[in-house]
Subunit: 416 residues, 2 copies
C-alpha cells in the first residue's frame, strides 16, 4: 500500500476509538470552535483557494466548475453556519433502538454506535470538506477525505484549520485527514483500504460513482444519480400538474432530484401537453417526445430509447405516452435510477399502486420531486442521497452514517 | 455476460415486482405448501443427494464435509419444519417505521420494502437452499442461489420441487432460481450482476467471503468469520467464569460464535488458569499461552502473534495476559473479527467501558459468546451473522434482509 495511505489508515483507526467516547458536549463545543476558526482563518483559506482558481482558469476549467470551486467570505460564513446548525441536531450515538430480555434472563440492547472510519471521495467542491467533517465527527467517526485534485490547496487549508482546532480542543487531530497525493492510482488504492475504512461514500458524477462501486472492497453507499420521472395520470389536476412539472424540471436543472422524464397517460395528453409546453417555454426547455405525444407539441424532437434512460441535468425533458398506470410503472422501473419518481393523480387506488410498485428511494404523489433532500425532509443536514437499497435509502443525515451493536448482559448463562 | 446468468437475472428482475405485492396470506400459504412438497418429494431429493454423496466419496471428501452434504428423511423433515416456523413470524414488509409531516403539508412515511433480488453464494450444504428461499421469499424478494458444485444434484432437486410448488400456488416459479453452471468463472460473473441483483450474501468460509468482497460490484453483507474473545477481568466470579469459557470454547468448536482466544487480567491468572485448564482438559483443549501466562499452565504451547488473530474452529484456545481492561480492549479490537466478544467481571464500570469500546456486532457481559444466533436472539430465523457495520450487524433475520422507501404525499407542493 502507498505509504501515505498506510499512515493515514493507521492514524484514523487509532483515532476512531477516542471519537466513539466523545460526549455530545465535547463534540458540540469542538464544532462551534471549528466554525469560528474557519471564519477567523478565512483569508488564508481564500488565498489557498485563489491558487486553485488560478490553476483552474489556466487549465481551461468551465465556468460552472470554477464557480463550484470558488470560496468567498460569504461562502465561508455559510459553511460555518452549517456547522453551527449541526450542534442543534440530536446526537445520533448511544440511542437504544431496542431492548428485550430472553427467557434465560439475558438482557439484550440494540444501540447506535459510530461507523468507525468513513471515507469520502468527491470532486472539486471545497465546501464538501467541512460539511463532511461536521457530519462524520458528530456521528462519532473519523473521516478520511479524498477531494478533487483541482481543489487540493483549498482542501489543505481547510483541513489544517480544522485539525489544528481539534487539537486546541484537546481532541485527536487525526479525526480529519486529507489524502494529499493527487495521483489517480492512490484513489484506487484508497478504495481497497478495507482494513482501515468501514464505509466509503462517493459524492459526485456518475463516472466517479461507477469507478468506486467497481473498484472498492470497502462497503459503499452509492449516492446521486437521479433520472427522476413524473407520471401524469388521466385524472391529474392540470392546474396543479403544470406548476409541479415546471418546478421539478426547471427550478434547478443540475441537481439529482430534478425531473428528467415525463410519462403521460394518453387520455390527458391533449389537455396537458400544449399548456405544459407553453409554461416550459419560459425556460426554453427542449422537449423530446415519443411518437404518440409529438403531435401535440410544437417543434418537439423525437425521443430515442436512450433519452428515457438519460439524466440530462439540463433544460431538456423526455416524454413517453402510456395507456395505464401499470404501463407507467413498468416504464419507470425500467429506465429510472431508483432516486425519486412522482405520480400526479386524483385516483387514490392508482396512487397506492404507484407508491407500492415504484422501486425508488422516494415515491411522490402530487408533489415536486425536488423535495428529496435532507434539509427538506427535516433531517437538518445531509451527506448525500442514497440510491442503493442497502443500509440507507434516500436522504442520508446523521443517523444514516451510524451503525449499531448489540450488548448482552447476563449472569453466567451458557448455551445448552 | 454468461447466457445462463443473463437469463436468470432477467427472470429474477421480472419476478421481484410481483413478489413485492404478495399478501402475507399468499406467502404463508405457499411456504406451507413448499414444506409439504419437500417431504412428499423426499425420496427424489434423497436420490439426487445420493449422487452428490457418491461423487463426494469418490473425490475423497472429508467426513465432516460429507456429513454437511448428507440429506436424510429426518433432515428433510427438519428443513420443512423450519419453513413452517417462518409462517409464525411477523411479515417484515409494509411496516411504517416513521411518519411525519413537513411544515408545507407534505406527509412523509418511511416504509419497509423488499430488497428486490437477493443473491446467496454458499458451499455444499443443501439445507441452505430451502432455508435461504424461505427467508428471501417471506421478505418479498426473489432469490438467486449459487451453491457448492459438489451439491448440484441435491440443489437441483430441491429448487425444482420449490419452483413447481410455487407455480402450483399460482406464483412465479422464478422467485427461486439456481445457477446450474459449476464453472468458477460463472460465480465471479454472478458477483458483478449489479444490474439485476440488489444484495449479495456469501455464506461460508473466510476464503469465499474474501473472494466475494474483492470481486463483487453488488452490495455485499459479509457473514461469518468469528475470532471471538473472552476477557476475564480481575474481579470475575471464577465459579461462573469457568463454565462460560468451557461452554464458549467447547460446546461446538466449528462455529463462528465459539471462543478462540482468552484474555486474562494478571491479577486473576493464578487463580483462574490451573482450574480452567483442568476443566478444558475434559475436551482435550490445546492451550497456546503467552509468556506471562504459560507458567501457570501445565504443558501449554507458546502462543505466537499469529495465534491471536486465528479463528481455529478447533479444540485450541490462545491465551493473552493484560494488566488492565483498557489493555484488554486494545488487544481485542486489534485481533478480533468484530463478531462477538465478552467480558467476565463484577466491576460495572469496566463492563460499561468494555461494552462501549469493543467494536463488535455483539458485546457480552458475563454470558457465553455462543448466543450470537438469530434463534437465540428470538428472531425466529437467521440468514447469517453480519460482521460488517453497513446495513445489518450481528444475527440477520427477516427484517435485516429488507430495505425501506419514503413515500411523500402532497397536494401540489413545489420547492421555492
Amino acid at each position: 500500500m502507498n505509504a501515505e495511505l498506510e499512515q493515514i489508515g493507521k492514524k484514523a483507526a487509532a483515532a476512531k476509538y477516542g471519537a466513539a467516547l466523545l460526549t455530545t458536549e465535547q463534540k458540540n463545543n469542538a464544532l462551534l470552535k471549528v466554525a469560528d476558526a474557519l471564519v477567523t482563518h478565512g483569508d488564508e483559506i481564500i488565498a489557498a483557494n485563489a491558487i486553485d482558481m488560478e490553476n483552474g482558469k489556466k487549465a481551461g476549467m468551465k465556468e460552472g466548475i470554477l464557480d463550484r470551486l470558488l470560496l468567498t467570505k460569504e461562502r465561508i460564513d455559510a459553511i460555518a453556519e452549517g456547522l453551527r446548525q449541526i450542534v442543534d441536531l440530536p446526537d445520533p450515538i448511544g440511542t437504544t433502538l431496542e431492548r428485550f430480555e430472553r427467557p434465560n434472563g439475558m438482557k439484550i440492547e440494540k444501540v447506535t454506535v459510530p461507523m468507525g472510519v468513513i471515507g469520502i471521495i468527491y470532486e472539486s467542491r471545497p465546501n464538501v470538506t467541512p460539511d463532511a467533517f461536521g457530519l462524520c465527527f458528530t456521528a462519532g467517526s473519523a473521516v478520511i477525505l479524498k477531494g478533487g485534485s483541482d481543489c487540493i490547496h483549498s482542501n489543505i487549508a481547510i483541513v489544517d484549520c480544522i485539525a489544528d482546532t481539534l487539537a486546541e480542543c484537546g481532541l485527536d487531530r487525526d479525526l480529519i485527514q486529507l489524502i494529499r497525493s493527487t495521483d489517480r492510482e492512490v484513489t484506487r488504492e484508497f478504495m481497497k483500504m478495507k482494513e482501515y475504512v468501514d464505509l466509503l461514500i462517493p459524492r459526485g458524477g456518475a463516472g466517479l460513482i461507477r469507478a468506486t462501486v467497481e473498484n472498492s472492497t470497502i462497503p459503499v453507499i452509492e449516492t446521486g444519480t437521479g433520472n427522476c420521472h413524473i407520471f401524469v395520470d388521466e385524472t391529474a389536476d392540470i392546474e396543479k400538474a403544470i406548476p409541479i412539472i415546471f418546478n421539478a424540471k426547471t427550478q434547478r436543472v443540475g441537481v439529482c432530484n430534478a425531473c428528467e422524464s415525463l410519462v403521460v397517460h394518453e387520455n390527458i395528453r391533449e389537455k396537458l401537453l400544449p399548456a405544459l409546453q407553453k409554461e416550459l417555454a419560459k425556460k426554453q426547455v427542449e422537449l423530446r417526445a415519443d411518437e404518440a405525444s409529438i403531435g401535440y407539441l410544437d417543434g418537439a424532437v423525437p425521443a430515442t430509447e436512450e433519452d428515457f434512460g438519460t439524466e440530462y441535468l439540463d433544460y431538456i425533458l423526455s416524454i413517453k405516452t402510456v395507456s395505464s398506470v401499470q404501463e407507467a410503472i413498468d416504464h419507470i422501473n425500467r429506465y429510472h435510477t431508483g432516486h425519486s419518481d412522482c405520480i400526479l393523480t386524483q385516483n387514490e387506488e392508482n396512487a397506492e399502486l404507484f407508491k407500492k410498485c415504484i422501486d425508488s428511494a422516494c415515491v411522490y404523489v402530487n408533489v415536486s420531486t425536488r423535495f428529496t433532500d435532507g434539509f427538506e425532509f427535516g433531517f437538518g443536514a445531509e451527506i448525500g442521497i442514497s440510491t442503493q437499497k442497502l443500509h440507507a435509502r434516500g436522504p442520508m443525515g446523521l443517523r444514516e452514517i451510524c451503525s449499531y451493536k448489540y450488548t448482552i448482559v447476563g449472569d453466567g448463562q451458557v448455551r445448552g
